[in-house]
């Protein structure tokens, strides 16, 4: 199951025809304690690089961008009651939403984990 990363610190796991999106461990550390996650509506269309979700700490609100274009199929309801999951398990239980893969070629421009690690090390 290949995982890709964006330079806005989202990750995307591709599982056949669909993909799961969340924010990286580096991103959650930068944001601090997450207090709220605003998720997209199921069925809504998101565009690569477009705003898809908002993640909030006490003093900041940050947009989360869609890594690729597609339709939102499911969102992580657990975040509603427990936004802290984004801090404790950003790359597993703290996932944001599942989406269809509108155009698989869009994945090509993203980083793999090695490239992302190098990217973060350089920040």
């Amino acid at each position: 199951m290949p995982r890709y990363f964006t330079d806005e610190h989202e990750w995307i796991d591709v599982e056949g025809e669909s993909a799961t999106v969340g924010i990286t461990d580096y991103a959650q550390e930068q944001l601090g304690d997450i207090v709220f996650v605003e998720l997209p509506d199921t069925g809504s269309q998101v565009e690569k690089g477009g705003e898809a979700a908002v993640v909030e700490s006490v003093k900041a609100a940050s947009d989360v961008y869609a890594p690729i274009t597609g339709e939102v199929m499911e969102t992580n309801g657990a975040l509603e009651d427990e936004p802290a999951l984004v801090n404790t398990s950003p790359e597993e239980e703290g996932w944001f939403f599942r989406m269809t893969i509108g155009d698989a070629s869009e994945l090509e421009g993203l980083m793999d984990d090695k490239a992302y690690k190098a990217f973060v090390d350089n920040l």
């Binding site: 709220f36 909030e56 700490s57 006490v58 003093k59 900041a60 609100a61």
Partner: protein, 454 residues
Amino acid sequence: MRYLPLTDTDRSDMLAKIGANSIDDLFVDVPAVAQLDGPIRDLPMHASEMAVERHMKSRAGKNLAAGDAPFFLGAGAYRHHVPASVDTVIQRGEFLTAYTPYQPEIAQGTLQMLFEFQSQVARLYGCAVANASLYDGSTACWEAVAMAGRVTKRHRAVLSGALHPHYSEVVKTMAQFTGDTIADAMPAIQTEPDNAGLISRIDDDTACVVVQYPDILGRIPDLTELADAAHAKGALLVVVNTEPVALGAIKSPGEMGADIVVGEGQSIGVGLQFGGPYLGLFAVRDPKHVRQMPGRLCGETADAEGKRGFVLTLSTREQHIRREKATSNICTNSGLCALAFSVHMTLLGEKGLRELAAENHRLACKTADRLEQIPGVSLLNSAFFNEFTVRLGGKPAREAVRALADKGVLGGVSLDRLYPGVEALNDALLVAVTETTTDEDIEALATNLEEVLS
């Protein structure tokens, strides 16, 4: 100068420390074109406390205070008795001269008060959550329309014709710039509120229906019917209340299905003050809408030792964090007025508010009965709380109000003042009655009105 502690010696010592020769050295960045050669002309020089007080008293003396006349004005601002202890509390320097509680460890007084205030407003309105206040009722009304747009993602608001016309104007003014569509109407001058007409204007694009309760003519609309009709189309019901004392006698908007309840809190604790500062109240029935609310919110938490404490919270909605994506550009609330409201409401309590409301209603009924005895005068409303509309048998109400004022009676607000030039409303007069109204006042209004009309 009595407010400036620095002495000339201080000033020269400080300039020396700074390394400046004169105060002008500190203003070197001001371009030459804006440098003045002395104090600004055409303005007086400083004056003693006594002289200033005398000047201001001369202005105050030209006004006829409500307490010095039989007084019957309402239309969104009401004269109620404010207990003496309310002003004592709000003049305490720790409340008066504090700032927004951004350092909660040394602002628990303001914060706990706001938490209590929010709880009182939520209960009064029959809602889950109220904010820490907005500027006034009219701006709160616009904020409710804007919020309904965010919740429903629709951009058409239907305003009741019996919404305070100044509130409608504020909403329409703001909507010109946001691109929202506002469907408003004139009030139907009839015994009962025109719910059917309002319902017929709700469509599938409607974000919210805005209705005043009691309405601008003093009538009491059935909110349940309106809530059902709005919800059936996926719209929210916004209820505006300009007289919170009424809610000690009639059902709360929340229990009748309102989604957002806003209003003017001036009646409780704040006083007339020629229109401001007043107190915008804002509440939502469903807690899930909290994150779309405008303005400040105070929430409960604990400190590092586990003691209960309060903080401003959910501030990611606000301008200082969201900048151009904020729910509103509001920065201040109406803190000191919220304190006055909360102190007065605490003094009243459940029992006091209900008795206050009952007394207002009793005196209003008495006044209406008395005015109806005047030849040519008829009561429009079948129901009302403490304000009602009378028709003066075709005689212009605005002229009657002026003539009454000449006789030292502040007799009400003419609909012509609120809806200038509308023929059908020309002879209608709004009369408000509160616990401050005496039997002598009622008689003075009745006899003078009879004279003015004859």
